[in-house]
Symmetry: D2
Subunit: 338 residues, 4 copies
Amino acid sequence: MIQDPYEAIKELGAAPLWKYYGNLFPAEPKSEAVPYVWRYRDLRPYMLHFSEVLSLHEAERRVLMLVNPGLTEPPATVNSLYAGIQIILPGETAQAHRHSASAFRFIIEGEGAYTTVNGERVDMHPGDLLLTPGWHWHDHSHEGNGPMMWLDGLDYPLVNKLEAGFFELLGVRMQEQTVPANSSTKKFIHGRLLPLWESPAGPHSPIGNYPWSETEKALAGISDEAEGSAVEGIVLEYTNPWTGGPVMPTMSCRVSRLKPGFHGLPFKHTASTIYHVVKGQGETVVDGVKLDWAEHDTFCVPGWAQYAHVNRSASEDAILFSYSDEPVMKALGLYRHI
Amino acid sequence: MIQDPYEAIKELGAAPLWKYYGNLFPAEPKSEAVPYVWRYRDLRPYMLHFSEVLSLHEAERRVLMLVNPGLTEPPATVNSLYAGIQIILPGETAQAHRHSASAFRFIIEGEGAYTTVNGERVDMHPGDLLLTPGWHWHDHSHEGNGPMMWLDGLDYPLVNKLEAGFFELLGVRMQEQTVPANSSTKKFIHGRLLPLWESPAGPHSPIGNYPWSETEKALAGISDEAEGSAVEGIVLEYTNPWTGGPVMPTMSCRVSRLKPGFHGLPFKHTASTIYHVVKGQGETVVDGVKLDWAEHDTFCVPGWAQYAHVNRSASEDAILFSYSDEPVMKALGLYRHI
Amino acid sequence: MIQDPYEAIKELGAAPLWKYYGNLFPAEPKSEAVPYVWRYRDLRPYMLHFSEVLSLHEAERRVLMLVNPGLTEPPATVNSLYAGIQIILPGETAQAHRHSASAFRFIIEGEGAYTTVNGERVDMHPGDLLLTPGWHWHDHSHEGNGPMMWLDGLDYPLVNKLEAGFFELLGVRMQEQTVPANSSTKKFIHGRLLPLWESPAGPHSPIGNYPWSETEKALAGISDEAEGSAVEGIVLEYTNPWTGGPVMPTMSCRVSRLKPGFHGLPFKHTASTIYHVVKGQGETVVDGVKLDWAEHDTFCVPGWAQYAHVNRSASEDAILFSYSDEPVMKALGLYRHI
Amino acid sequence: MIQDPYEAIKELGAAPLWKYYGNLFPAEPKSEAVPYVWRYRDLRPYMLHFSEVLSLHEAERRVLMLVNPGLTEPPATVNSLYAGIQIILPGETAQAHRHSASAFRFIIEGEGAYTTVNGERVDMHPGDLLLTPGWHWHDHSHEGNGPMMWLDGLDYPLVNKLEAGFFELLGVRMQEQTVPANSSTKKFIHGRLLPLWESPAGPHSPIGNYPWSETEKALAGISDEAEGSAVEGIVLEYTNPWTGGPVMPTMSCRVSRLKPGFHGLPFKHTASTIYHVVKGQGETVVDGVKLDWAEHDTFCVPGWAQYAHVNRSASEDAILFSYSDEPVMKALGLYRHI
Ligand SMILES: [Fe+2]
Ligand SMILES: [Fe+2]
Ligand SMILES: [Fe+2]
Ligand SMILES: [Fe+2]
Ligand SMILES: [Fe+2]
Ligand SMILES: [Fe+2]
Ligand SMILES: [Fe+2]
Ligand SMILES: [Fe+2]
């Protein structure tokens, strides 16, 4: 053993743990993501600009990725999740493909566009939540007037970290429609009723669209005296009707109403969260950083950062849509909070 | 051993299996229940009559039990389930109590009555399904005009067979209302959304009322091209939003639409079923017995009896509400069908 | 309406609830079963007697049913369960059949017999627990010397109450052996290891025999300082390795060790239980009735009866095998205790 | 909008998806890990060397990390998992701490050491699998003779990717022993019996040690005619007795027997796997790379790499211990295989 033993073991594929220990086992997690707000009023003009100057040939999808300043390479919005804002113009389409990453669209503005998911045309209206579970074929079309914009949510950062991502083009630009338009929503959204001749086709919700018209009724149905959450207000989770659990195994999607003057208690958990402002304005303090937000803005709360929401208005509700990797943390025994 | 050995073992609490074997292990089940229809148009006058001539003192509840001719002692409608028709007049009440047996009401006619279940007032409208899960306090009141009639469904025959039934009077006639009226329905019925600050309080649905207005939308939302069940038509199950499963652990409640001219395939399973005709007319052939049914009639299909439904009308839908002990059969590994 | 209205509704299949109410909803359950002990030393001579005087032709199975004095027609041991003592002589066989009722054998004495269950020969030794889940083919054989006796446990009273019982003879006397003898036990009993190339074939344990040799080790492995249950002592449940739950959906099988001088706390629950004394002697007071028990005796505790166990010996353990319908009560939301 | 719009959106935290798309959505996963073998006979001398020359003060734990050549920064063995070889000398200890990462030890050689996990001393013998579920206090001691060596398995690469890792020192070097030594194994390993007075304390197995003596019996109990897996041979999964599932939510631990001359079919799945050779010698071809392995070697199969095992011996079994992140892939809907 004349050789330097550290060199020798390196050649054998080994390394001394005693030189790494502290880095591998931090006292607590410190996300590389930072608290951040993406302002819609600032980004919107650029979206319109790019949709005008770039052909679909140049940019198959005109999407602005909301990249966390702490997570630029590879780009992500929080550790395991991504948010982007997509614009589609009348007459445009996006070609049919599928990927392991699960996705959803939360519609911001416009009318007349639709996505087709595994053969079902799903129409979009502002406030609607449309699902594209992992490995489902999807393409988009716009047959209305004016630009259509939506928030894209995906778990590709997680899927890529786990080295489990596949992608496929269908080969034809638009998939065939094999079931009546919007049929899954019609079949599953009303009355807590489930069709007995069907059964789950995977670990995801069968619902193509959770329409805002229903979400509004749900929010309106809860009395002002309802207890709610001291952290998130009147917070509702979109669920998979087959299980009552999250809509997809990797993402929990939620909508919350912060009553006028709501001051949330500070909270901290290992899940990472992306919020999108449906309505209203307020602020969220994240680890001492104040994030001001207004309608259609998107902001994030990294994992294990302390946060507290405030609805600044004394007369108007604030409505937040949000999504997080809480189901991942819980499934793996890693959810923790204080 | 001078004694007759058969006498001797009898005194010791034993009996010879070889004298019983065949009875204990029949080749297949033969329900003691028989196929039967209870006709609303015939029963209704008697319900009105009894509600007039009997004071609440004489009959705390004016209910006509729908007793299967094969199950008179103790009375039951099918082997494990009970159906009754209850009438309540304006100004009347039924005193607060609870029991291990789970119950529901399916409203037939009238307006203005309500039940209070564990502190929540739940209003009744025709077609609504109201739940009273086991061991929930409940009382009824009628503040409207005209008689109110509903179908009571209970699992007391099962609970009593299992020797697991408890009963308690609250002591005061009417329980206090501790939450806003109809709040559980408002909180849980819309948009497949679940309040995140709540969690299941037992193995039953938290919903007090599955309103007909929602059930109608659910039925209307399913396209005429939907596959449905070849046996039951467009058949939907009322579910527990926390699990996606049946509303109560012992009873599955369903609503089905038989399209004009529907001829169901014959089917046979170990579950026992009670059907109530919401609308339309038709016939169900059960083990060779033809049961004709019309609006508001109730009929039963005993377990392991072959049945096939027909909607006689060429132009009108028939709508059937039904409930069965299928969840019991499945939980215990005893569900079987051909 | 000239007719007596009570007569009239009777003809229409209806009955007045107000005349039945109290009977259908008792304040608490009162089992028809009574506390009882079946003494092995008394029954054993009769078993030998019948096995001598009756040919297999006369009595396909020489089984003494342990009939509860309160449950003679149809015969059962407690409300939903049955116990019997079976004897088989060298050279005898019992012909292959199957039934919906689930069964097990707990071996009392003898060596050399075996049962074949769905193609697997399962050998019997005193203290072994052998399963015959519902609808599994089974036949018995005895190739040893001397009589073999065991306790049969079945849920046929439950299955028959639920009108869900089927029975079938295989047609040939002995089924073919299609897998190596005792292979399921070998495959599943050691090291908490599960074969990854297999998957559950139903809601029951795949294990043919839980051998006493392993049960003994399990009991011995628990230190004398272990907390145990104040009611049942060191009580272990035989489990289905695929789920960690009960061996069959309708019956929980258990073994418990009452340390010398153990005085259990009184307890009461809605489940019905049958105990079999593997070793030792003691007494169980059930609703004020003292049941003395000694080795190989069988005794029962009806549902909702208060019971407390005592090990009378100051130096020897008492070991009780037991089974109950607790999984049924829990699955249906009817389990309750005080 | 005089500014370069690409610059402008960058300042607003946005980036053009159309410039990233292909990288984020690869056609299929290509692990950064490479197939690799770590040879025990080569590494062992260095382990002895370091244990001699480094004081515990200099290296709290003498562990050689098995670092995949493709995953050096941060170091990992496969994408989500880590393997290391630890040596501890008589009289040495490792101080009490806990971390979110779940861990296990698979003992390679030596006698007399033990770990203490949440107050329970767990003794180590070659072939034993000892669990340290996430956030369980643990420390190690060696009261025997000669060096003790084991394989450490951890999921810290996954936990760190998910930014969910916490770490804590207990403060005292050795935790107190609060339950009898080895009590969890004694309580849970035999007879598929579960103590009814206990209940799960989290999503992990309660067993401290799956002793090799039991694992050996499990392997021996399976007949040579058993079907097994065409890919992995006679492969058994260590399970959590409360659920029948994996021992910890992030790692499946397995042991497999490759019969003499076994040639496994090639297989490919998204899970990453680390194998440790308990006995025998053979080769595994991974994406065209031949990995030769012998006793006590460790090798890895990255996710979505095709692999096939061969036992080179015509007379001796090969026994492989392995662990993978398959439970993660399955919980998140990302498991896929061909
Ligand atoms: Fe996509
Ligand atoms: Fe789908
Ligand atoms: Fe009632
Ligand atoms: Fe409730
Ligand atoms: Fe049998
Ligand atoms: Fe089986
Ligand atoms: Fe550690
Ligand atoms: Fe633990």
